[in-house]
């Protein structure tokens, strides 16, 4: 795994607060409307390289939409997404990867799923074979390499999806509830993979509904409510002592049905 990301500048786990480099990815006034309804409302976020950010919030808060917009799968109605200070272009999108809540498995073998992703990214020949073997090993799927991907269990499919995304050597990895509906064993395997990826320098933005998971993995946290950023901050602090009412209610397991909070928080995390 270390090799996969070795082409990228290794980043220390802690980045000083006065770091002058532009954030790895940034959203400015990001809005998304569908049929007159504002689903993302003026989202300003700056995320630095090398960090693992958890995105929290209730269903319909706009978490998936935000990730999709940042990944370029969704055109924002207003605002923009900046990658290292520049607009999101093809090259920038190629430096990103995303794993969806329900893993998309091609109707091919496990190995062919990896091969397809690598081929699309222009990795061929020996290098591709090497990365395939590495990804299979990483996902502990070497024994199942020639099995049809769609007969794997849910946990195995998600491990494959994650390994496939990482095999492409992304700088930034989006994870949309990667462990939803997985059992504890499978969840742990996925979390191990995520930790390995992060320790090798991959920046990760991950949606989770699981406060325990957010605590285990998260360094930074963003709490969305009603399409707005309700609160941002270090994950440990936000999870222990959330300030936004919606985040407090979420933490305490209360239902929070009041209209969205006073306004968006513009904050660098």
């Amino acid at each position: 795994m270390r090799d996969l990301a070795s082409e990228f500048t290794p980043l220390g786990p802690a980045i000083s607060a006065n770091d002058v480099r532009p954030p790895l990815i940034e959203t400015r006034g990001l809005c998304f409307e569908d049929r007159g309804q504002r689903l993302l409302d003026n989202i300003d976020l700056k995320l630095r390289a090398g960090r693992l950010t958890v995105v929290l919030g209730a269903n319909g808060a706009g978490k998936s939409l935000l990730l999709r917009a940042m990944h370029g799968l969704l055109n924002p109605t207003e605002g923009e997404v900046l990658w290292q200070g520049r607009p999101l272009d093809r090259a920038a999108r190629r430096a990103q990867a995303m794993v969806f809540q329900r893993p998309v498995m091609l109707r091919r073998s496990v190995r062919a799923n990896l091969r397809f992703a690598l081929s699309v990214r222009g990795v061929m020949g020996r290098e591709r074979a090497r990365r395939e073997a590495e990804a299979l090993d990483l996902a502990r799927l070497s024994d199942l390499a020639d099995r049809p991907a769609r007969v794997l269990s849910g946990g195995e499919q998600q491990r494959l999806a994650l390994a496939r995304a990482l095999a492409c050597g992304p700088e930034l990895l989006f994870l949309d509830e990667p462990t939803a509906s997985l059992d504890p064993g499978s969840t742990q395997a996925i979390e191990d993979l995520i930790r390995t990826a992060q320790s090798s320098g991959v920046t990760i933005i991950m949606i989770t509904h699981d406060a325990g998971q957010a605590r285990r993995l998260g360094q930074e946290a963003v709490f969305l409510h009603g399409g707005r950023v309700a609160e941002t901050g270090p994950a440990a602090r936000l999870l222990e002592a959330p300030r936004a009412p919606a985040a407090r209610a979420w933490r305490e397991g209360r239902l929070y049905l009041e209209p969205p909070g006073a306004g968006p928080v513009h904050q660098v995390i």
């Binding site: 370029g72 093809r90 995303m98 699309v120």
Partner: protein, 235 residues
């Protein structure tokens, strides 16, 4: 007139004795139809995949045309190809009228919209599942079509089979452009039509038996393939 069972037993004798006339007719039928279906697949599969997996201006009109053309009456196709290939037609100089090539052209025109329209449906459904992943990976146009066709390969086998069924059983178009000339353009369906009207029911029925057997064999093969595909979750 002989009894039905008498005719049937004579027909089977013809089939089992590998009658040379029968073999020639069946051979030409298969050559014409398989070539036409092959060409129709070469055109229809990518065309259907592009219409199924891309949004472009006029896409709805193309889809509508493909669906409408699925129901083309064979005699109309035969007539159009006849007009094109006849001595006074624009392609008359090629001298293709009343040749197996003319029959292949007619059947290709008949089958291509079927292959394309059914492929579009199959690919559209598959792409609905793959779209996000493909967008995330940044899959290019050619790769997208290729991957969708490959991953839908077992469903597309059924599509090709539908085209084959339509072409091999069709009589109007090949009759008009082929002319049903003995030893040249006589295929199973045209022979059945001719021999029935001549009262030579043994040969007609023997060909009918062959057509039916072919249909059962081809369908059986495709069903078996699909079943194995379903077991490995490829379908």
């Amino acid at each position: 007139m002989e009894s039905f069972w008498g005719i049937l037993s004579e027909a089977f004798t013809l089939v089992l004795s590998w009658d040379p006339d029968l073999v020639e007719i069946v051979g030409l039928s298969l050559r014409v139809t398989l070539t036409a279906v092959g060409i129709a697949c070469l055109i229809g599969l990518p065309l259907g995949a592009v219409v199924g997996a891309f949004r472009f201006p006029g896409r709805g009109a193309v889809a509508l045309m493909l669906n409408a053309l699925m129901g083309l009456p064979p005699v109309v196709v035969g007539l159009m190809v006849y007009l094109m290939l006849s001595a006074s037609g624009p392609l008359g100089v090629l001298g293709l009228l009343y040749t197996p090539t003319a029959m292949i052209i007619a059947q290709t025109i008949l089958v291509t919209p079927i292959i394309a329209a059914l492929t579009k449906q199959v690919v559209e459904d598959l792409y609905a599942e793959y779209a996000d992943q493909f967008a995330s990976l940044g899959v290019g146009l050619a790769d997208r079509v290729g991957a969708l066709l490959w991953d839908a390969r077992y469903s597309l086998l059924t599509v090709a089979l539908a085209g084959f069924g339509r072409a091999v059983a069709e009589v109007g178009a090949v009759m008009i452009v082929g002319g049903n000339i003995n030893h040249v353009t006589r295929v199973m369906t045209t022979t059945i039509a001719l021999e029935t009207s001549k009262g030579n029911l043994q040969l007609a029925l023997a060909l009918g038996v062959v057509l039916l057997t072919l249909a059962v064999l081809v369908n059986g093969a495709v069903m078996a393939l699909r079943a194995s595909a379903v077991r490995s979750a490829y379908a």
